[in-house]
Structures are given as structure tokens and as C-alpha cells.
Symmetry: C2
Subunit: 305 residues, 2 copies
């Protein structure tokens, strides 16, 4: 017996058709499916050719379903709903708790929106974020994923670079006042005079302003002034800078959004590549579930921006 009509049709075409029917708009269907309007147009055209019948009428930019398109639409929608329902048992089976450990700075400044985006796409996955600045607690094997401030080597974690650390002094426009127009040209003394904001160094490798100036060859005329403010966490230090309280050392990738949106401004023309970076770690010698790998891939894909 000859093959069935369905054998000649890629099933994905029905998903595209369904979206086009619900929206009555190829452009909007494309946006829903994350493909271009042109791709939707082609898929529909090919489906019509395979079926040997038009499914839509086009008049200028107006779409309408043909009678046979309408009947098929109803059935395809039923099919997809039935399929989705068929997968319900796998939702809970698939539902995982993923434990991620990250330092306070990464948690507050970088992970927030990324975890929200991931969760939106993976509603069945429960996320537990362990925020600590203690390197020992960070690297605990109790976690599925970690984000470590590191040079890239760790005996118990397989590390992949998220972004290298690039430290640069930053302040808010309010703090800068008239200096805003030439923020990139400020000298070290002018920067120091604005008031330095520091934070507790839980990690021996973290760079304070003292180290920052030292690594840049002591461009100050005098000694490094003590910080006007010092906070227990990096995020609080950045918050203070945002509030106009002075100059903080910003890790460029962590504060990228603030820089882009003008809430913080980079000062001077020098920055410091510390040789460290933020690394995403998968456990060595232990299999992880698909949700862990999904989050791992999502964080890497999104990159440092």
C-alpha cells in the first residue's frame, strides 16, 4: 500500500500552521515561534503544496482561512493540545531542583535577570540560589552548579569561562557633577578625591583600590587614601556608588547594564585585567540531569553582556 499523506509532511509544519491560524498574521506567528515571517510564509506555502489545497487566502496583507484550512486548523489545534497533555506526566518527572552557588556580587548584579529568563523558559525547574562569599561554601559539592571567581582550574569542578575580570573605577553622574563631561580623562588623584568605596575581601584574590592603584604603577601623587565607605558586600558597595556616595571598583561585566544605561560611568582610561575571571562550574566525576545542563548552557550562551 502506498505511503500516507502524513509521511510526506514534516510535523513541524503543523506547529507553524497552528500559530499562523491563531494569530492570523505570519509576522506575529514568526515572533511566537522565534522564526522570521519569511520562514512562516514558506512553511505555509509548502504545506499547501503538499496538501494540494490553499489553507489561507491572501488579500494584500489580510489573511483568511479557507474552509478546508479552517477545518484543518481546528483539528491541528486539538492535536497539539492533546500532545501537550500527553507530556504532562513528564513535566513533574522532568521537574528538577537545580542548586546554584554564586557570590553575592554575581548573584545580585548578574544572575537575577538570567535566572528569571531561564525560569520563564523552564517553568518545571526549581532553582535554588546559594549566595555566599565564602570560597569554601561556594565550592561545596552539594551544589549542581557554581560560579567561581577563579583562574580557571579547580580539582572538583569543570570550569568554563563566563567572563574575564576587568576592573574599572566607576561613579554615578550625580557624584561626578561637572566632571562628567571628561570622565574618561580623569587622573588617578581626581578619581581618589571623589571618595573611594571599598568592600570586605572574603577572597584573598579580590582587588581593593590599594591593589588597583598598585597594579597600575602607583599613579597617585601621594599614598592611597583610605576608603570613605567600606561595605560588607560588593553589591552594597556598588549600590553606594549608584547612590552617588563615591567611587567603587566595578568588574565591568557585572555592572555592564548599569554602564550601558548611564547609571554608572567608567572613570579614567585605565582598567585592570586581573587574570581572574568568573567561571561556571559543572561537577567533575558526577553525572548531572538535563535541567542542570540546560541552565549551564543557558548561562554560557547568554555570555557576559
Amino acid at each position: 500500500m502506498g505511503s500516507a499523506l502524513l509521511d510526506h509532511i514534516p510535523l513541524e509544519a503543523f506547529r507553524v500552521f497552528d500559530s499562523a491560524c491563531r494569530h492570523m498574521n505570519f509576522s506575529r506567528a514568526g515572533r511566537e515561534l522565534n522564526i522570521t515571517q519569511a520562514a512562516v510564509s514558506r512553511r505555509i506555502k509548502l504545506l499547501e503544496e503538499e496538501l494540494g489545497a490553499p489553507l489561507f487566502t491572501r488579500k494584500g496583507k489580510n489573511l483568511a482561512l479557507t474552509p478546508s484550512g479552517e477545518r484543518l486548523s481546528i483539528r491541528i489545534r486539538s492535536t497539539l493540545e492533546y500532545l501537550e497533555e500527553s507530556l504532562e506526566p513528564f513535566r513533574s518527572a522532568r521537574s528538577e531542583v537545580v542548586s546554584l552557588a554564586a557570590s553575592g556580587s554575581v548573584s545580585h548584579l548578574w544572575l537575577g535577570e538570567r535566572l528569571r529568563a531561564f525560569s520563564k523558559d523552564n517553568p518545571a525547574v526549581s532553582l535554588r540560589l546559594m549566595t555566599t562569599d565564602s570560597p569554601t561554601e561556594l565550592a561545596s559539592e552539594n551544589n549542581d552548579l557554581v560560579i567561581l571567581y577563579s583562574t580557571g582550574e579547580h580539582p572538583r569542578w569543570h570550569l568554563t569561562l563566563l567572563f574575564a575580570e576587568d576592573l574599572v573605577p566607576v561613579a554615578s553622574p550625580a557624584c561626578l557633577g561637572d566632571l562628567l563631561t571628561r570622565a574618561a580623562d580623569l587622573s588617578a588623584d581626581e578619581i581618589a578625591a571623589l571618595g573611594l568605596i571599598d568592600y570586605e575581601r572574603f577572597n584573598a584574590h579580590w582587588i581593593s583600590f590599594r591593589q588597583w592603584f598598585g597594579r597600575l604603577g602607583n599613579p597617585l601623587k601621594g599614598p592611597v587614601p583610605p576608603p570613605r565607605f567600606s561595605f560588607s558586600t560588593y553589591a552594597l558597595a556598588i549600590n553606594a556608588a549608584l547612590a552617588g556616595d563615591g567611587v567603587a571598583l566595578g568588574s565591568r561585566a557585572l555592572i555592564a547594564r548599569h554602564l550601558e544605561e548611564g547609571r554608572l560611568v567608567a572613570l579614567g582610561s585605565q582598567s585592570l585585567h586581573t587574570g581572574f575571571g568568573y567561571y561556571l562550574g559543572l561537577p567533575r566525576g558526577r553525572e548531572v540531569g538535563p535541567a542542570v545542563r540546560a541552565l549551564h548552557n543557558a548561562l554560557l550562551r547568554q555570555g557576559p553582556e
Copy 2:
């Protein structure tokens, strides 16, 4: 609300899963779907990963469905059957009668298995083959497709080359006897001495042995002997050659299978490119349906072999 699990699964994976379930054998499922066993294995693995649950257990070469795989299998089968049923209305809409006109030689020697292959893949399409050697009847606009012996130009048909004509004398091994070992080296006189088989020339451009020898610069020592046999159709002439009755002029592409399988042997080292060829024609200035275009494409894709 976050996206559904179904949004992350290519629907084709369900077709592969269904086939694997019905056969309980990835190799056989691949053969059904025209993909390799390796491709089936990968698709199933990816599906299991997306669902976060195994669907099959594997023990050596033995497959078994897991409980959740079993439940999903039942639902997927239902889904695909429902989809197939949903397309029934398009079967009749898609069912077409395609009229194809071709000369007797092409019909008998070339089209047979190709039309069978097409029909097997397109069970809903009815094929009507008009076999005639009359050029007028061949080019009739009553047909959807034609195969014309031509130079490639026709006012009413858009022609695409199937294969160029290359004439070569052929005979069966039985006819050749001891000469078989040096069939490629026979002289014109030796060829003629085997007895010539000719056919009625309905098309003024068709080449008989007289023209063949003439075009090759009269390599015979004497005049062209009259044919021992002459048939009303080309196919009958070839049948006679197959039966060992003498030498016929074969159009290489039409008798390719006979040559390949040793039922006919090409004689001498010369062949004649006539400047003509067999062309597949779509009507000019008239839209044709998808089935016509499908057959057109199928015949072109299969090429001259």
C-alpha cells in the same frame, strides 16, 4: 506562563518514536522512515533527554518500553492516526489524474519502472500514459506532461532535457557468439554481416542504419545492406535484438539497463550523437497542479540511468 514542554521538542521526534515503538527495533524503524539506525538512536536519546525520562530500556540488542514510554507510545500513535485522518479530505483534493504522453520506445524501455516508483510514492495520483509515435498526437495539449524527441525547442511546451540521444549498434551475446570477446572492436562490415534490424520511422528525424552509417562517413566497403528485419515500433526492434535476431540501433539511455545487465552489448567503438534528445515538457502558459509538478521533478531527478 512559561513555555510548554512541547515547544522544546521537534514534532518529528514523535514520528521516530512511534516507529521505534511499533517495531521495537531501531534498525527497522530507520528503514521504515528512510533514515539510518544511528539517526533513530539519536532522536530517541534526545527525546528522552528533553522529557527527562527514559522511554526504552536497552539490554544488549533488546529493547523494551519503560512504563512511561508505553503510555506515551499509546498517545503518540493515537495522535498520528488522528492527524492522518485529518488529512483525508486533502487526499481526494490532492488526488489528480496526470496525463503523460510518450513515444513507444520511451514508454516501454524507460518509463515503466519510473512510473511504478512514482506511483508507489504517490498513491493518490492516477497516471494515464498515452503511448504514441505520432508527433502530432505526442505534442497534443490535452496532456499534462510529454516526453518529446526533440532538439529542445517547442512553441507549446517548456522542455527540459532528460537525456541526449546517443545511438550505438547493439546485439545480444547469443547473436555475437565468438565475436563477443571483441565486440568493441568490430568493424562496420562485421557489424552489418550480423544482420540489421530496423524500425518504422514515424519521426522524420529518427535515424535508421542507413543514416547511421552515412553520418559516420560510410565505413562500409559496399552499400548499406537492407535490414534483415523491420518492425513497426522501436521497442519491438529492441526485443528482436534481445532475442538474438540481429543488430539494432540502440539509444544508449533507453537501453541502459539492458546494457548494464549484459543482455545487450554495444558493438564497435563509434556512436552517434544526433543533436536530438528526449525532453520532458511542461505546458507553456498553463498552470499545472502539484502532482504534475511532482512527476515532472521525479522524472528529472531520476535522470537518464
